[in-house]
């Protein structure tokens, strides 16, 4: 029989698995796989989890119970309806398409021993109990490797609880179709230091969140349609690199953390109710470099960051483009150095929420400022730095910062009228919001690759199409004149 053969092949390849286990597996597995179902978990004996769901009552559970520490279990393809707990150091590796189905209750995989590898499974359908935090994979011990799994229809995805030195790599994590308030976190680290989170895709979840986890590396992940793409709470010395975070409410939200580096990320179209590309709340000693931050409601939102004056907040070499607001500051924010960024076509480049100035922040470092698409000066000596400082004096933006409702009238000629009046009449001329002493006259190269531009050919064709309408109208009018003239001669 096919299934039995695969088990035997597995066993022969791996001498580490005891003969008794192979016998056990092949005897019990074959009929179970033939039916593709298992007896309901409640019939199983032994361990139960907090919700009363029986653990290790199914096929994989029995394999685990029979294994010795350090064994590798190759789980054959099939669908398994069970909840498992890995209570000894094992490697569980899926052979082909292995589905572990939680049938909508409780957690599904619990890793309670150190040095466990869990690779290549499809884990689906957890409970939806937010109080119990039903998770597809919960890790309670160190040095776990969770790799290349697909988690679907789950409340929490991978939940590391005091599980330091874990590797979470290449997983595909998709949340349940629930209202945002009822969703769980696709990925959560709780007091799990030195974890490596890479090449995961997380979508339709709540957050990917790090709580009290130090020295974590987060790179090459993708997150979309979540609440916060990545969310740091009290997590220090974290590196967030080369991730692509799109269509979330907020791309990356850093709170109460220090020593965080954000580098080379693409934060696009994060337009939820908060809608920040990057939000910083009371975060210290951070650096934000080489990111592409585009199309968000606010590119970077700064609230009480940096928190101390130990190190200035470093925002450099980013492209901040096409956001409703490029940088939003709360009025009390000071101590940032914002240099060598491209501020491209943000509807409002810099906003001080409420009222105030940004005198406590530098918009240039080493005599090099930022590239502003709304810079109106020139560069006579051709040194790449504009000959006049860039300062933002706009009465209408001041009005907007005070009364955001009035954004409804953006882009209308009345806006220009107000700007003009603000410039022309010194009495109502607002104070400059910020001051860039050395604006750059050409954009800075940023390490992230830019998005594919729309087709120029199509644009040209539509242009020609539009122009041809006008020539048609013109020709029609000429044709009419000719008709009249001909009719006239006949008459």
């Amino acid at each position: 029989m096919n299934a039995t053969r695969s088990i035997l092949a597995t066993a022969s390849r791996l001498g580490v698995i005891g003969a008794c286990m192979v016998g056990f597996g092949s005897l019990r597995l074959a009929p179970a796989l033939a039916q593709d179902t298992m007896p309901p978990p409640s019939e199983g004996p032994g361990v139960r989890d907090a919700a009363g769901v029986a653990l290790n009552a199914g096929v994989i559970g029995r394999l685990i119970n029979a294994a010795k520490p350090g064994d590798t279990i190759l789980v054959p393809a099939g669908a398994y309806r069970e909840h498992i707990r890995v209570d000894r150091p094992l490697s569980l590796i899926a052979q082909g398409r292995v589905v572990i189905d939680g049938m909508g209750s409780g957690d599904i995989v619990e890793i309670a021993a150190p040095n466990v590898t869990f690779r290549g499974f499809i884990v689906r359908d957890t409970g939806i109990d937010l109080d119990k935090e039903n998770a597809a994979i919960r890790v309670l011990a160190d040095h776990a490797v969770i790799e290349n799994n697909t988690l679907e229809d789950i409340l929490f995805g991978i939940d590391l609880k005091q599980a330091p030195d874990a590797i979470v790599r290449g997983n595909f994590i998709g949340g349940k179709d629930l209202d945002i308030a009822r969703r769980g976190d696709g990925l959560r680290l709780w007091r799990s230091d030195r974890a490596l989170v890479e090449r995961n895709t997380i979508h339709d979840g709540r957050d990917a969140i790090l709580w009290y986890s130090q020295n974590v590396t987060v790179r090459n992940n993708t997150s979309r349609r979540c609440r916060y793409g990545f969310h740091l709470m009290y997590s220090d010395d974290v590196l967030i690199e080369n991730n692509e975070l799109t269509h979330n409410s907020v791309g990356v939200y850093l709170m109460y953390s220090k020593g965080v580096a954000l580098r080379g990320n693409r934060l696009l179209a994060n337009r939820g109710p908060s809608g920040y590309g990057i939000g910083l709340k009371e975060t210290d000693q951070f650096s934000i470099t080489d990111n592409l931050i585009a199309g968000n409601r606010a590119g970077v939102y700064l609230d009480g960051s940096p928190f101390t004056n130990l190190k200035p907040g470093d925002i450099s070499h980013n492209t901040i483009a096409c956001n409703d607001v490029g940088l939003t500051f709360l009025p009390s924010v000071k101590g940032n150095v914002i240099a060598a960024n491209n501020f491209v076509d943000n509807i409002e480049q810099v906003c001080v929420s409420g009222r105030g100035e940004l005198t406590g922040n530098e918009f240039a470092a080493k005599d090099r400022g930022n590239f502003w698409t709304d810079y109106a000066g020139y560069d006579a000596d051709r040194d790449g730095i504009g000959d006049f400082a860039h300062e933002s004096v706009t009465l209408f933006e001041n009005l907007l910062d005070r009364e955001p409702k009035l954004r409804l009238l953006l882009f209308s000629p009345a806006q220009q009228a107000i700007e003009f009046v603000g410039r022309a009449i010194p009495a109502i001329r607002p104070e400059p919001k910020f001051f860039d002493p050395a604006p750059l006259t050409s954009p800075v190269r940023v390490a992230t690759n830019s998005s594919p531009a729309p087709s120029r050919l199509a644009l040209a064709i539509s242009g020609l199409g539009l122009a041809s309408v006008s020539s048609l109208v013109y020709l029609a009018s000429r044709a009419f004149s000719l008709t009249i003239r001909r009719k006239g001669t006949v008459a």
Partner: protein
């Protein structure tokens, strides 16, 4: 009697006396005259120059970064359309009937076997054709410039912008024709047209701003008041068509998205179509009751 008048009479006689053919004949004449008029050429050139300037400058600044999205290019073009198209349409419309009346042309025209409804519709259609030519030429040239410059603009954006600009032009043309039907002299009509332009472009927005700041106007009233202005309806619709959302317009935009969802384009459409149909009907009524001199 001018050559045009003769041609018109012959044209009217040559065609079947049906209403549609009457209207079309009148429209052709109006179209041709409009395209020949110096003022119209001036408007076209102004629109073309401003649009090309905006396209060139904004594409030059962002082209190298290859970023697409709702940026200054689109904002700039919307701005130009908001300034130039209403002025063009209002003043063209305002000259339509009053000018003919002053020259005695109207008396002659109405001596032909055409009804007053046909005259108004014919003039409206002809002028509309001229405006369409002007707008498509301007925005078409802008698209070409943007494409040559590196084109970080979606073709769809330009097509939507052109279509909606035409709707805006039609609504302002309606208002212009109404003014023209009411006014006795061409200069008064054009003056009133320009005054209306000022009111719609600047005064109403500034009033809404002042009202919001002084009276703490709630978001809903702010949105609905703004919607009544055809220029703002055009602007919001353009944004909505580009972005599928007007949340770029801040809290009031978000409010509108959350409250009206899919009905929003219909609301913008209703506002613009209302501004096309109602003034035009009024113009027909007024024109039918007034003496042609």
């Amino acid at each position: 009697m001018s050559a045009t008048a003769l041609e018109t009479r012959e044209a009217v006689e040559a065609h079947a006396p049906g209403m549609i053919s009457n209207v079309l004949t009148l429209a052709w004449r109006e179209l041709r005259d409009a395209l020949r008029a110096r003022s119209f050429l001036l408007y076209s050139l102004a629109f073309l120059a401003l649009g090309l300037g905006v396209s060139y400058v904004s594409a030059a600044s962002t082209g190298s970064l290859g970023l697409s999205g709702f940026g200054r290019t689109t904002a700039g073009l919307i701005n130009i359309v908001l300034l130039v198209v209403p002025l063009m349409a209002l003043s063209t419309g305002a000259g339509a009937i009053a000018g003919d009346r002053e020259r005695g042309m109207l008396l002659f025209l109405l001596a032909q076997p055409v009804s007053r409804l046909e005259v108004v519709l014919g003039k409206y259609l002809g002028l509309a054709g001229a405006l369409v030519a002007c707008i498509t030429l301007g925005l078409g040239a802008c698209s070409l410039v943007l494409a040559l410059q590196g084109g970080a603009t979606e073709p769809r954006t330009m097509l939507w912008l052109a279509g909606l600009s035409i709707l805006l032009a039609l609504s302002m043309l309606s208002v212009g024709v109404l003014v023209s039907a009411l006014a006795r002299r061409a200069s008064v009509a054009v003056g009133t047209g320009v005054f209306l332009w000022l009111a719609l472009v600047f005064v109403s927005d500034l009033g809404i701003m002042a009202g919001t700041l002084a009276m703490r106007l709630p978001v809903k009233s702010l949105f609905l008041a703004t919607l009544c202005n055809p220029l703002q309806a055009f602007k919001m619709w353009a944004l909505h068509s580009i972005d599928a959302s007007i949340d770029v317009l801040g809290p009031a935009g978000l409010y509108a998205m959350d409250t009206y969802h899919d009905a929003l384009p219909w609301m913008f459409g209703a506002s613009l179509i209302g501004w096309i149909v109602v003034p035009l009907l009024l113009a027909v009524v007024v024109f039918s009751k007034r003496s042609p001199v």
